[in-house]
Amino acid sequence: MSEFSKALSVSTSGLQAQSSRLRHLSENISNADTPGYRRKTVPFQTAFAAGSGISNVEVGRVSLDDRPLERVFDPSHPMADGSGHYDGSNVDLLIELADAREAQRSYEANLKMFEQARQMSSGLMQLLRR
């Protein structure tokens, strides 16, 4: 495998990881008002590729956030208990939005790396032209 295809493959793995992170983030945001919903967190880990020297990034097991659910006071809610509270979700929109912005930034950085590796290899191909 040449260096350029390694660079392209590791950039692709970064793009995939970031987009799967963004997918789970949007799932969290859309379920921010679902009672009992726990936010999902996406761990990133390094995939060890034997021999190639370049290690891709991959998404590990998605886990649920252990923070306590928010207690919402609404006596008219069908799920409300004796004190008039029910369990909301533990999604903090501010955290999700900041995370989404970071994911977008990393996605763009990976895209830039991909584009640059492509430019370099096409520059190499230009040598064959007269």
Partner: protein, 130 residues
């Protein structure tokens, strides 16, 4: 005389090094959000490129597949860890630094291709073809 032109060998070695550097930078960018990831870096071309005994220069081979030079150590051995910046989650990569390195790699690659092309033009014109 034209069997083994040093300028072509040097330009080739420089382009190979730029490609390796690009792959390492792409790996760092892809792992920019992986907790505990330690960024990798390659020594600069000037440090790697070692003169041969009889005057001509040769690139140090980094793995058995390389044609030029003798293997001194593995590609992983040549990679150095960069711990200049560490986030709270143990990640030492910084996208800004990587962008700078990527631009360096691209410039080095462009430069080596320009040298190669210009040397090729000289050889071509010495053959009397335009």
């Amino acid at each position: 005389m034209f069997q083994n032109l040093t300028v072509f060998e040097t330009a080739y070695a420089m382009a190979v090094h730029a490609g390796q550097k690009q792959a390492v930078v792409a790996q760092n960018v892809a792992n920019a959000d992986t907790p505990g990831y330690v960024g990798r870096d390659l020594p600069s071309f000037q440090e790697i490129y070692a003169p041969k005994e009889h005057g001509a220069t040769v690139q140090r081979a980094t793995r058995p597949g390389h044609v030029l030079g003798a293997v001194q150590q593995g590609a992983d051995g040549m990679m150095t860890e960069d711990r200049s910046f560490a986030a709270p989650d143990g990640n030492t990569g910084s996208i800004e630094t990587e962008m700078l390195r990527a631009t360096d790699a691209k410039r080095q690659h462009d430069r080596s291709l320009a040298i190669y092309k210009s040397a090729l033009n000289i050889v071509r014109s010495s053959l009397g073809r335009q």
